[in-house]
Each structure stands twice: as structure tokens, then as C-alpha cells.
């Protein structure tokens, strides 16, 4: 076992529940490296919803919360408001964050509350057996779209940024060091941070989206389908998915600061009795 990862993992619950070659473990490694470099193990709490990606935080030997489907961001907002000194990291999947939890993402981004959301995008509903998710590429033959998916895939970064997220980046699991740096910047950023990670699912997405069962070949396919962009573009250059650090804006006021100011304002007011 890796010595650094061993310090942050509950060893009695190993091995991980993930399939062989799943990208979730790589994202867990990157998050552990980011938390270790910042030295914030005691001041961090991780929240997750339901799905394959939401099994990432339960292995961490720190404060974690495994909550109901789609509501991970809602629970994280409540946790942040009651414990403003904690750094909150939310691990969520494409079905959890963009399908059932889509409205929570919009409102959390609009409030600009200081949480870090890591969206693990594996292009399919992996845990339930390979149904079409909001990010499945058009034309993929899945269990629920046997003649090819008709919908165009949703763009998580675009949605979060248009709703008002102030830090946004997208990487793939083939860029572990850049991902680690993005998670570090997201934790340090005072505001809503949204990091999308394109990940591989060798079992379900391998069967229906990529027609490729080897984890490394899937990682290469995802990497070759992306293009590094210095700034955000809504269209897809050369038909590829843009990756990179898109936005880091520290001017907008943060939500827990607003609540703190409001509390101080109200403290000076006199109680009105009728």
C-alpha cells in the first residue's frame, strides 16, 4: 500500500468496492495528495450522494457524510453554514449532480457558497447497470437507448459557470497532477469551485459508449477526445471537449460572509415588541 494513501484511508474497509481499472481511485489519489499538500486533514469534511463516484469519500479517514441521491450539494451547503471554518469537498457523479441534483447545483453556484464540487463524469449510470446519463455522447447504444442516444450531452462546466460558479476547471484522469493542482486551487478559492473530471468506466461505458474494455485504452481515448483551452469556449473546437482551468474570479462576495455580515447587522437592532 502506498504510504501516503495509507495515512488517509480506513484500512479495514479495503479493498475498494470499485471495479478493476475504475477512474474513481485515481481521483481519490489526487484528492488525497491535494489535502496532504495543504495539510488540512483535520479541517476538511467530504460529502457525497449516491452512485459509483459517491463511494470515494467513505474510504477517507476523516469527516465524511454519505447522503441521499442528488442532495449531496444541499447537505454540503448546510454543513458549510453550520461549520464555516471547515473546508467542504463534495464528490458527485454525472447522474447525481446533473440529473437528479441539477437544481441544487444551480442554486449553490448562484449563492457562491464556499464548497468544492468534484464532478466525476464517466458518461453513464454505472452503478445501476449502464443506462443513459445526461452526459452520454449522442449516438451511444446503452440499455435505455438501444437505437442510439438522441440527446446531446450536457456540459457541466458551462451550466455551473452560467449559474455563477467562480472557480471552474475540467481535467481527465490522465492528467493526475493538473487535477491535484486544480483541487488545491478549488479548496483555497473563497467561493463555489466546480471541477469536472472525465473518468473511465471500463465495465458499463466500455460496453456501450467506447466499445473498449481496457482501462488504459479508454483513458487514452478520453484524453485524445479533449483539447487544452486557455479560456472557456462554449463551442467544441475540432469537435473535442475543452479541458483546462476556465475561470478563477475572486471578486464576487461569498455566501457565508454575507450571512456573517447579516448576523452582525441584526445584532445591533433592538427587539420590537408589539
Amino acid at each position: 500500500m502506498n504510504q501516503l494513501i495509507e495515512k488517509y484511508i480506513k484500512k479495514d474497509s479495503l479493498p475498494y468496492i470499485f471495479c478493476a481499472g475504475c477512474g474513481n481511485g485515481i481521483i481519490l489519489n489526487a484528492a488525497i495528495h491535494a489535502i496532504d499538500e495543504l495539510g488540512i486533514k483535520e479541517d476538511t469534511a467530504c460529502v457525497s450522494g449516491i452512485g459509483c463516484s459517491s463511494w470515494i469519500p467513505p474510504y477517507l479517514n476523516m469527516d465524511v457524510m454519505h447522503t441521499i441521491h442528488g442532495r449531496a450539494i444541499a447537505f454540503a451547503e448546510g454543513l458549510k453554514l453550520s461549520r464555516p471554518e471547515k473546508n467542504i469537498i463534495v464528490f458527485t457523479g454525472d447522474g447525481d449532480c446533473l440529473a437528479i441534483g441539477g437544481n441544487h447545483l444551480l442554486h449553490a453556484a448562484n449563492r457562491n457558497i464556499n464548497i468544492t464540487v468534484i464532478l466525476v463524469n464517466n458518461f453513464i449510470y454505472g452503478m445501476t447497470g449502464g443506462q443513459k446519463s445526461p452526459t452520454t455522447p449522442a449516438g451511444s447504444r446503452t440499455k435505455t437507448s438501444p437505437f442510439g442516444a438522441l440527446d446531446e450531452p450536457l456540459d457541466g462546466c458551462g451550466i455551473a459557470m452560467s449559474a455563477g460558479a467562480t472557480y471552474c476547471s475540467r481535467w481527465t484522469v490522465s492528467h493526475p497532477n493538473q487535477l491535484k493542482k486544480a483541487i488545491k486551487e478549488g479548496i483555497l478559492h473563497n467561493g463555489f469551485s466546480f471541477i469536472e473530471v472525465l473518468s473511465q468506466c471500463p465495465v458499463q461505458a466500455g460496453k456501450s459508449v467506447f466499445q473498449e474494455r481496457d482501462p488504459w485504452n479508454m483513458m487514452e481515448a478520453i484524453k485524445n477526445n479533449t483539447i487544452l483551452c486557455k479560456s472557456w469556449t462554449p463551442e467544441r473546437p475540432e469537435g473535442k471537449i475543452p479541458i483546462g482551468n476556465f475561470k478563477a474570479d475572486s471578486e464576487r462576495q461569498e455566501y457565508t460572509d454575507k450571512i456573517k455580515n447579516l448576523k452582525e447587522q441584526l445584532r445591533g437592532m433592538q427587539k420590537v415588541t408589539v
Binding site: 500500500m1 502506498n2 484511508i9 479493498p15 481499472g21 481511485g25
Partner: protein, 68 residues
């Protein structure tokens, strides 16, 4: 250059072969040995070629590889 000490935890490796293909110096190779779940596991075939970039540590989904 000093020789890196490479260890793979046989209890948790699932044999996904990411480390074999990700290593820029092709240090790892698949062994004939099976772990308790029945999958083949890799072993460091050319440990003298390792430059210590630690890419395999970052890319191992099960956190089994330790390099020092």
C-alpha cells in the same frame, strides 16, 4: 542515479494493467502469479530503469504501488 525501491501490494491489486501501460520507462510486466481474487498481478520487471516520476503511484486506482 540511485535505485528506486518499488513495491506492489498483492492484497489490494486488481490487475487492471494501468501501471504497465502508463509507465514511460516500461518498468512493470505481468506476472504469472494470481492474487486472492484470481486476477494476475504485475511485478517490477526492470526496477533499474525507474526514474521515480511516481506517475504509477498517482494512476494506480487501488493505491497499491509505493516508490521510495
Amino acid at each position: 542515479m540511485r535505485m528506486m525501491k518499488i513495491s506492489i501490494d498483492k492484497a489490494y491489486c486488481k490487475g487492471c494493467e494501468i501501471c504497465i501501460k502508463a509507465c514511460p520507462k516500461s518498468v512493470f510486466a505481468m506476472s504469472e502469479e494470481r492474487q486472492s481474487f484470481g486476477s494476475l498481478i504485475p511485478y517490477p520487471a526492470k526496477p533499474e530503469k525507474c526514474v521515480g516520476c511516481k506517475l504509477c503511484e498517482m494512476l494506480c486506482p487501488d493505491g497499491c504501488i509505493n516508490i521510495e
